[in-house]
């Protein structure tokens, strides 16, 4: 089903998605949006894995399993991150990342 589509297309797509995520991570103030940006970043990595697996090592399943595990880890990460965000919200009554700077010098 991927005939006629060079691997570079997938990679460029993933790259763009990755850096859009990075942009979000750097520019948004809301912690939850930041989390969402992170999801984008991780997702782009998954795309890379899948593309590499399909194009370069079609006889193996490593890429797929990696993605699988990444998805599991992302789930765990999201759960914990959201718990932390809720806690921060209770503590500071805000989830603006610029207001949470207790850990400075």
């Amino acid at each position: 089903m991927n005939a006629g589509i060079p691997i570079q297309f997938f990679l460029i797509l993933a790259t763009l998605m990755f850096f859009v995520g990075v942009y979000g991570f750097l520019s948004r103030r809301n912690l939850i949006t930041i989390l969402m940006s992170l999801e984008l970043v991780l997702n782009s990595v998954n795309i890379n894995f899948m593309a590499f697996n399909r194009y370069l090592f079609p006889h193996k399943m490593e890429g797929m399993f990696f993605s699988l595990f990444i998805i599991a880890v992302v789930a765990a990460e999201a759960a914990v991150a959201i718990a932390i965000i809720l806690n921060i919200y209770r503590r500071f009554t805000t989830i603006n990342v610029e207001d949470v700077d207790e850990m400075k010098y």
């Binding site: 990755f18 520019s27 949006t33 999801e39 399943m61 765990a76 932390i84 989830i95």
Partner: protein
């Protein structure tokens, strides 16, 4: 232009457009919905690459689970109607520059690199094969990471509960601060 190419470009366009919307939208709930759309489009890509299992996982776990989780947390912490203040132009510009630089670097590198095509016969990734190697103790088996991930998930679950629980250590401390 054949169908799968059209399909690919359609999906790509969706992914990129919705990604950008996700990180620029000033209403958070909308951002979550855009994220959902991105994830769904991604699973479409997986289908295209013939990884049905993973596509399904992507749909259920990612699009179904995580996005719902995010939406819940949004509801707990923000007002739906709330609009963000726009990001400061300085900050967006810097972030955009950094991201663009990274993107350009990565893309030029990708374009420079010659990927050799594989000569091996493609493997049929059916549920049987996945299940077998996931539970296999062989060289190619994934039983150990599988178990580790299960424990990780359990730990994350417990951690999520403990951290978010009302009256946890942080909460007591903040009460102490108030006093």
């Amino acid at each position: 232009m054949i169908a799968n190419q059209i399909m690919f470009f359609l999906l790509s366009a969706m992914i990129i457009v919705f990604s950008v919307l996700t990180v620029t939208s000033r209403k958070i709930l909308r951002a979550a919905v855009y994220l959902l759309l991105v994830l769904v489009s991604t699973s479409g890509l997986y289908f295209m690459l013939n990884y049905q299992f993973l596509a399904a996982i992507q749909l259920t776990l990612y699009a179904g689970g995580i996005v719902v989780l995010i939406i819940f947390s949004i509801l707990l912490t923000s007002h739906i109607s709330q609009k963000f203040e726009p990001t400061g132009w300085k900050k967006s510009l810097l972030s955009a520059l950094a991201s663009a630089a990274g993107a350009i670097l990565a893309i030029t590198t990708i374009l420079d690199f010659k990927f050799g095509a594989s000569r091996e016969a493609a493997m049929e990734v059916d549920m049987h094969a996945i299940g077998k190697s996931l539970l296999s103790l062989d060289y190619d088996g994934y039983i150990l990471p599988f178990e580790v991930i299960s424990i990780l998930l359990l730990a994350a679950m417990i951690a999520g509960i403990v951290i978010a629980k009302k009256g946890g250590p942080a909460d007591q401390e903040s009460q102490n601060l108030k006093q």
